[in-house]
């Protein structure tokens, strides 16, 4: 076993990486435009607006039109980044995402901001824990859930260059930068964060650093957990998942519903090829009132909670 990762003391809001990257890309490519629903501030696009006022299209509080406009801009030769709170982007405009973006196969980049339970006490209307389940069946829509600022920047740059529809899920939750050597972003490929053969913990987004901490805790008990950063949910890295299944036990971790998201995708795949005990860590449904920290703690999205899920999975291992 080798541990590749350590964590820095600093914590980062990935929206800053998103906004800086978009500004940098837009400076080099006049086709890049942003579309928002009165979400300039929450998308951190104030700087973009100052630099490129004609290339920021604010349709107001109108998500259906926002997404349709994205498709139209792509038809007209632009590279649109449609940025809004993930809950409204994916919930309110789901049919537009399906028909205008995915089915019509327009090269539009949908940026779901402050996803998961980032809005904490504002409650389930403002949480976006269903988005992965809603979007996963749109098989030509690449879905990426970056884990930290480095991966956020890499995913945005990849999306700008990729010809096709993309959904990127960005959080406002402070996360550490994962420090992995020689990191290369590869869409559609799992990233090995930590090697291990006793079980595999497969995480995405804000939970990857928690999964790593859980693995380090398990190591002190003599349990070696592989940790995979599954940033791309669509298309799923099936090889990495089936290799993970060879360890005999899997824990999935996501800041999302445990129904139909990352855990659902892995359960679907392994049940057909390599049935394996799986413990899914996430949210079971609408959550009660509470801060982000309280919700993470309450539902076991913590190193301790993930380690406990690992023990449950290991107990079921044949």
């Amino acid at each position: 076993m080798t541990s590749h990762a350590t964590q820095t003391a600093g914590l980062f809001d990935c929206r800053n990486a998103w906004a800086a990257t978009l500004e940098s890309l837009a400076a080099d490519d006049p086709r890049i435009v942003a579309v928002v629903n009165d979400s300039v501030g929450s998308s951190k696009l104030g700087g973009f607006q100052k630099k490129f006022p004609d290339r920021l299209i604010n349709v107001g509080i109108a998500e259906q039109t926002m997404v349709g406009v994205g498709a139209g801009l792509a038809n007209g030769g632009c590279i649109p980044f449609v940025s809004a709170a993930a809950c409204f982007l994916t919930g309110r405009a789901l049919e537009q995402i399906k028909a205008d973006i995915a089915y019509a196969n327009f090269s539009v980049k949908l940026i779901g901001q402050s996803s998961g339970v980032a809005y904490g006490e504002l409650g389930p209307t403002h949480h976006s824990i269903e988005d992965l389940a809603w979007l996963r069946p749109l098989t030509n829509l690449t879905i990426i859930v970056p884990s930290d600022p480095w991966e956020t920047e890499a995913a945005i740059r990849w999306a700008a260059a990729h010809e096709g529809p993309v959904f990127i899920r960005i959080s406002r939750m402070p996360v550490p930068e994962l420090e992995l050597p020689n990191r290369v972003f590869r869409a559609g490929k799992a990233e090995l964060v930590r090697e291990g053969q006793d079980l595999a913990i497969i995480a995405c987004g804000t939970t990857v650093h928690l999964a790593l901490a859980a693995a380090q805790s398990l190591a002190s008990e003599g349990i070696q957990a592989r940790v995979l950063n599954m940033a791309t949910i669509n298309p799923l890295d099936e090889t990495a998942v089936l290799n993970a299944a060879q360890t005999g036990a899997i824990v999935t971790v996501e800041e999302a519903s445990i129904r139909g998201g990352l855990g659902g995708a892995i359960a679907e795949l392994t049940s057909s090829h390599t049935p394996v005990p799986i413990e899914r860590v996430g949210f079971p449904g609408f959550v009660p009132t509470g801060s982000v920290d309280w919700l993470f703690d309450h539902f076991g999205l913590t190193p301790q909670g993930i380690a406990a899920a690992a023990h449950r999975a290991l107990a079921r291992k044949r």
Binding site: L73, G76, N105
Partner: protein, 272 residues
């Protein structure tokens, strides 16, 4: 108008061909939406054979005018227009709704050249057309964008989001044509969820509004030539659902009705 360049005979000839061919497609497939095909065909023929700048050999030409068929169920009208305009061979029409056909019940731009976006669910065309028009402004392109919606379709709120944005942005490169046949799938629009006064609604949203007989190519050409330098243009085209076939006209049940052999034969006798 120079008589030699008068597009009206061609528009009428193509519209007649489109009605006959679309009805045969529906008859062969025993599927389709012929009532809405026939209310829209004169508008679409006028656009393709009198207004739009396009090259069927270069369907992705950057400065082509765009036509968005928001009432995507009226594929009989759209597919016959695209075939008549030269985007694909007429023989493709024979495959309408057959397994693996490029001619799905609702249009797919990945299957067919000339289709600008996939439509079918209502209330999608105007927002997409709005985005195309905004792109034209950003890129300083001189193409124009035309979108045809049904009238019942305007009960979808997304249209009004887009109408508000288009009016506020003063998008003079955008034209909306409403196929105002006053019937939706189940009943009349006004008895379902009334739209009138439709002209006042669009004026209030910042649009220039023209009303016209949607089966008169000369009147349509005139309306489409309206100067609207400061506003998007809305043309309310008064139409008759099932126009051209006596037993179909103004009958809501011909929204997705399909003809039997006798009805098909009678329609072919009337459509001359």
């Amino acid at each position: 108008m120079n008589l030699a360049n008068d597009p009206i005979p061609l528009i009428r000839e193509k519209a007649l061909w489109m009605r006959r061919r679309a009805f045969k497609m529906v008859y062969d497939a025993q599927l389709g939406h012929p009532g809405g095909d026939f209310s829209a065909i004169d508008v679409i023929s006028t656009l393709y054979f009198g207004v739009l700048r396009f090259d069927p050999k270069r369907p992705n030409m950057a400065n082509r005018d765009r036509f968005i068929m928001s009432k995507g169920h009226a594929t009989g009208a759209l597919y016959t227009a695209l075939a008549a305009a030269g985007y694909f061979p007429e023989s493709w029409l024979d495959t309408y709704m057959q397994p693996n056909s490029k001619l799905n019940g609702h249009p797919n731009r990945m299957y067919l050249p000339g289709v600008e976006t996939n439509t079918g669910p209502l209330g999608h065309g105007l927002p997409v057309a709005l985005g195309i028009a905004i792109a034209g402004k950003i890129t300083n392109a001189d193409y124009r964008t035309f979108v045809l919606t049904g009238d019942g379709e305007l009960q979808e709120g997304s249209n009004w989001e887009a109408a508000m944005t288009a009016g506020n942005r003063k998008l003079a490169n955008l034209t909306l044509i409403i196929d105002r046949n006053r019937l939706q799938q189940g009943a009349g629009t006004e008895e379902t969820n009334g739209l009138d006064p439709l002209d006042d609604k669009f004026r209030a949203f910042g649009w220039q509004v023209e009303t016209v007989d949607g089966h008169d190519p000369a009147a349509l050409l005139n309306a489409l030539a309206t100067k609207h330098a400061q506003n998007p243009l809305c043309i309310i085209a008064y139409t008759t659902k099932g126009k051209g076939v006596s037993f179909m006209e103004n009958q809501a049940n011909w929204h997705h009705g399909v003809p039997n052999a006798a009805q098909f034969a009678q329609a072919m006798e009337e459509l001359v």
